[in-house]
Amino acid sequence: MAEQTLLEAVNQAFAYEMRVDEEVVILGEDVGVNGGVFRATDGLIEEFGDRRVVDTPLAESVIVGMGIGMAAQGLKPVVELQFMGFIYPAIDQIINHAARLRNRTRGRLTCPMVIRAPFGGGIHAPEHHSESTEAIFAHMPGVRVVIPSSPARAYGLLLAAIRDPDPVVFLEPKRVYRLGKQEIENNGEALPLDSCFILRDGIDVTLVSWGASIKESLEAASELAQQGIDVEVIDVATISPLDIDTILDSVSRTGRCVIVHEAARSFGVGAEIAAQLAGEGIASLLAPVIRVTGFDTVMPLYRYEQDYLPGVIRIVDAVKQSMEYR
């Protein structure tokens, strides 16, 4: 048992599963000798060979499309798309095929595939390398959208995603790839794909987030604790299907909810959560649901990216605003 970063946890989950399951095949650009541009697949080609760790041509649509064909034959392809900004050429294959194969054939053919992509801002990356568009995938019936925010959850959720009999879009918050380590037992234990994680109990406000923003959410919670505000922090983690019950339950106790995400605000994942609070959850609400998010602009280039990202200050302000509402 060793301390691992989120990135190392991903790598370890791969190694674990590929040892026990011959059907798991990784494919994507630079996943082989190079070990992926972030090194998520580092060392895997050495252990498993280039049959199972496959450098593909630069062509996202066929990478995902061939994953679908492989999956239909019973392999368990794990496709890496180098950055979320380059996932779009493959959207057609995801929404029109991966998400539908089981339904179209009434279960005759299925698509046990994982589509991984690093996402999010804050690492001084070039243009098109910092976006967060999880909402687009969350709106596609038939795919799961999963976002780990810690090494342990990356390990357990990736194992679950690989073993899941249906397609999973697995988005890795690259800002926290190497930020902080955690002890992980390499025991092959998966985490559930249908549950939020309550990271911190609290009675005053429910703070809901996922991905890299969990970091600032927890920091904000600590800061607020010192000011006497007791915040419950929920990591949604399994964005779709959404475990709304855990969130509704929390808000039924706190009466207040602040949602934090990096993506543009409008029509983002936060909207669905707020909408359910406006529906089922309305009776619990003591204050307006506040979203602390990226703006409805292009993600600025790196020099200004912090202006865009929801930081601790904005989160703290929002929680206080929520608390002050009567």
Binding site: T56, V62, A72, L75, D92, T110
Partner: protein
């Protein structure tokens, strides 16, 4: 310095009068084998006509006729082995029937029912693909899986001439070449993509030329000649099964129907070209071959059409007698295990149904 022009010959075994231009391939030397080929073409033609009728009378939805393309489908079907995998587009009735897809299933699908793609007797083939050229990618992945397990099988995937303009088509043939995968791409060049003629689709001399862009074998075949289609497929499949070599085959034919029953080709068709295509369509000339060389009589022909008609009628009856899906069935195939939310959505929907009857 500049890329040279050169001609790709078209593989043919029959001339337009149905005369043999060269000896038959070994696998098609027997009269029975040729009749089987004819039989599947006739059955497809009869099915196709009846499917159009069903649409016209409101008993089925939009349907894309495969009239004129029966020889391609027949040739593919005969060349494939049962354990090969077929990844069709939407004019592949002839091949699908040979691969165990039931005619009533095809009707059910175009009749707006997902169970039409469940394929009782065909477990591996892909369903009909509507988003153009996307299926080429799936074929590549299936071929990867076959090679991965060293199974010595092969994949055949089809598309139209218009589909060759799409990125997915090119990305797929390129990956098949780069990774050396056991897959055969058959382009049904019927000269039209709805109203867009091939000349507007690409400036390439032939579609077979596109193989050069990705370093795989490119072949052009008379797509109105099922024997030639069989022959090139047979060879390509052997290369695929034994050497993991992909092939691109351009099968020349002509779309004799409207694009679909929702289309009206008279808005854009060139009547003279069309009339000419009619004279070299696959059924007429193959019948001539049988008549000239194999004592095929008009009575034989009529018997075959009658028999095909009966089989199609039976399929139509099964189609029409198919009971409805269970209410809310469409909720049940999204995930292996229904999610909490879908269970709730289905329950709410069923409650509404109960309430309002």
């Amino acid at each position: 310095m500049q890329v040279p022009e050169f001609t790709i010959e078209t593989v043919e075994t029959l001339d337009s009068e149905g005369r043999l231009l060269r000896p038959l391939p070994g696998a098609l030397r027997e009269r029975e084998q040729l009749i089987d080929l004819y039989q599947i073409m006739v059955l497809t033609r009869v099915f196709d006509r009846e499917a159009i009728n069903l649409q016209r009378t409101g008993a089925m939805g939009t349907y894309p006729s495969c009239e004129g393309q029966e020889a391609i489908g027949a040739g593919i079907g005969v060349a494939m082995r049962k354990d090969d995998v077929f990844v069709p587009y939407y004019r592949d009735v002839a091949t699908q029937i040979q691969r165990g897809v039931l005619m009533e299933e095809i009707l059910l699908y175009w009749g707006g029912d997902e169970r039409g793609q469940k394929y009782r007797d065909q477990s591996q083939d892909f369903p009909v693909c509507i988003p153009i050229a996307t299926q080429s990618c799936h074929a590549v992945g299936i071929a990867y899986a076959i090679k991965y397990r060293a199974e010595g099988r092969a994949v055949v995937t089809t598309c139209g001439d218009g589909a060759t303009s799409k990125g997915d088509f090119y990305e797929s043939i390129n990956v098949a070449g780069a990774m050396s995968l056991p897959v055969v791409f058959v382009v049904n060049n019927n000269r039209w993509a709805i109203s867009v003629p091939l000349a507007k689709q690409t400036a390439s001399q032939t579609i077979a030329h596109k193989a050069l862009a990705v370093g795989i074998t490119g072949i052009r075949v008379d797509g109105n000649d099922p024997i030639a289609v069989f022959e090139v497929l047979d060879e390509a499949l052997e290369r695929a099964r034994h050497d993991n070599q992909p092939t691109l085959i351009e099968a020349l034919t002509y779309r004799l129907g409207d694009h679909t029953t929702a289309d009206d080709a008279s808005r854009y068709h060139d009547q003279r070209e069309y009339d000419e295509a009619r004279t070299i369509e696959p059924l007429i000339r193959f019948k001539r071959l049988l008549q000239n060389e194999y004592q095929w009589s008009d009575a034989d022909d009529k018997a075959l059409y009658d028999d095909s008609g009966k089989r199609v009628q039976q399929a139509i009856e099964v189609y029409q007698a198919t009971s409805d899906q269970a209410p809310g069935d469409f909720f049940d195939y999204m995930f292996a295990k229904p999610t909490t939310d879908l269970v709730r959505q289905k329950k709410a929907w069923l409650d509404g149904l109960k309430h309002h009857g």
